[in-house]
């Protein structure tokens, strides 16, 4: 069985973001990057499937500039077999349909049985790429899976609102987008980090793949104005505690 896992590298969300000079994205310098959280679940699910069945080959794919190789290496160390880096220094400004068409163009003649992606990225949050890839490849897709089982066919649980799930059966080929809590992503062990260094990593220039024009334009990127009149308390911890207690006594009926 051939499995493709699509991942994205994103900054740590606790970073202090600066808006770039074009006002259309954050300044990519001086940020600590990691694998998009949702995609770690996708990697883990692919690797678990490989452990369950003997004949699974897992390719991890990432679109982005040179720095994304770090994310790819971690995915290999987590157990993916081979990697593809679609090198694209402009990916940050590409819209979801453009990113999806690069992936679909790469995947179209490779007969992947399962394509795992995260349900969304933490930075863009568009929740579109996986679903668009399935549409472009004209294969099935189940989004937001919170449970996956392979037993002849595939049974997944799709997360709805308020704790409700829908149980869905689907055949391959299929795109599955992964939700938080699907599994527990593993940490790469030192021997696996060493082994990963020998695994195949091919780089393709995104210009070699077909991509459409951008369907939209980012006019502005900004920090929202503080809406609430929230009071910010800063300083020495014991004093902060005293201040907070005084406020709670004054403003709430619970103390």
């Amino acid at each position: 069985m051939k499995v493709l896992v699509c991942i994205k590298q994103v900054p740590d969300m606790e970073s202090k973001f600066k808006v770039n000079a074009q006002n259309n994205w954050f300044d990519e310098n001086d940020l600590a990057y990691r694998i998009n959280e949702y995609d770690e679940y996708a990697i883990e699910q692919a690797v678990q499937l490989k452990e369950q069945l003997s004949d699974v080959d897992v390719t991890v794919l990432c679109v982005g500039p040179a720095r994304v190789k770090e994310a790819i290496k971690k995915a290999l160390a987590m157990g993916c077999d081979r990697a593809v880096h679609i090198e694209d220094t402009e990916s940050y400004i590409k819209d979801s349909s453009q990113v999806a068409s690069l992936i679909a163009d790469f995947a179209k003649d490779k007969s992947y049985d399962i394509i795992f992606t995260g349900m969304q990225s933490q930075d863009r949050g568009s929740a579109q790429v996986g679903v668009i890839v399935s549409e472009l490849l004209n294969i099935a897709c189940v989004s937001t899976i919170a449970d996956f089982e392979y037993n002849e066919g595939i049974t997944v649980k799709r997360e709805l609102e308020g704790g409700l799930k829908s149980i869905i059966k689907v055949d391959t080929p299929v795109v599955l987008t992964c939700q938080l809590g699907l599994n527990t992503p593993r940490y790469p062990t030192l021997p696996n980090i060493m082994k990963a260094k020998k695994k195949e990593l091919i780089t393709i220039d995104s210009l070699e793949l077909s991509s459409s024009d951008s369907l939209n334009e980012t006019l502005n990127f900004y920090y929202p104005q503080k809406s609430g009149g929230s009071l910010i308390l800063e300083g020495d911890v014991p004093e902060l505690a005293d201040k907070l207690i005084a406020i709670l006594k004054e403003k709430t009926s619970v103390l």
């Binding site: 969300m13 869905i168 939209n216 334009e217 502005n220």
Partner: protein, 303 residues
Amino acid sequence: MKILLVGEYRENKLLDVTYDLIGFADKLEADKVMLAVGYEEDIPKFDGKLYLADAKALGEYNPSAHKQLVLDVVEKENPDLIVFIHSSFGWDLAPRVATSLKATQFTEVIDYKDNSFIVPSCNSKLRRELKSKTAKTVITIQAGAFTPLTEALGTPEIENISSDASSNVNFVAYEEAEEKGLDLTKAEIIVTAGRGVGKKDNIPIIQALADKLGGELGASRPVADNAWVDQSHQVGTTGQTVSPKLYIACGVSGAIQHLAGMKKSEFIVAVNTDKDAPINEVADILVVADVLQFVPALTSKLS
């Protein structure tokens, strides 16, 4: 401008969020039509046209059939905008429709100004303002961002439609949430542990504050997913919706799905090392501090 709204049903019922679609169209003062795969016995109240497909025959969510229905109605009505709620239904269907129409899609729109759409970015810390370059635009709107200002009234004119598109995914059944072990909805004080608490071993620090205040322990999703705290403590869209007198969020960033579950709390205190954390949008007080230092200090001062 003409807008096609795509309504939502689940387990035989019209979902309330469907009215947010009407709130959105009204805000734009646009002509609206609605499409829903639902039940004739429970239709949304509004004055206008409702294309209704029968959920008994089609299933409440069958991606291929639903996509075909939307495309059929788009062909008939030629709307400029096709609007879904940003929900498990909308985020699955919207990109399918957008791809077929070669239209752009904006996800989780929270505002609309002069023909451009505002969406959250970086876990709600920042905002992007986007403009469509395609003839039609597909959007999903954040639930709660366009709540209608007036009570829903009116009776739509119904046109029945159907689709015979077969699906390549098979819905088997719904699975209800497990019986909730803990009812947080009645708690007067909730102290919530977020991922910023660091590890399971630190949970007792948060629990001690909850105990001292006579309140309950809450959890954000990663805390529950990692089993630092039992799932039944989770607050948010996929957890419980709470409205205590006091909510103390410790190391919680304030992602929209968490806010959805707690923003109705009467008084909200957030403890976070990051001054820009989006929890600040709903908090009454943001204490900029390390939870591991601040929370024990607060607990001991309360003695």
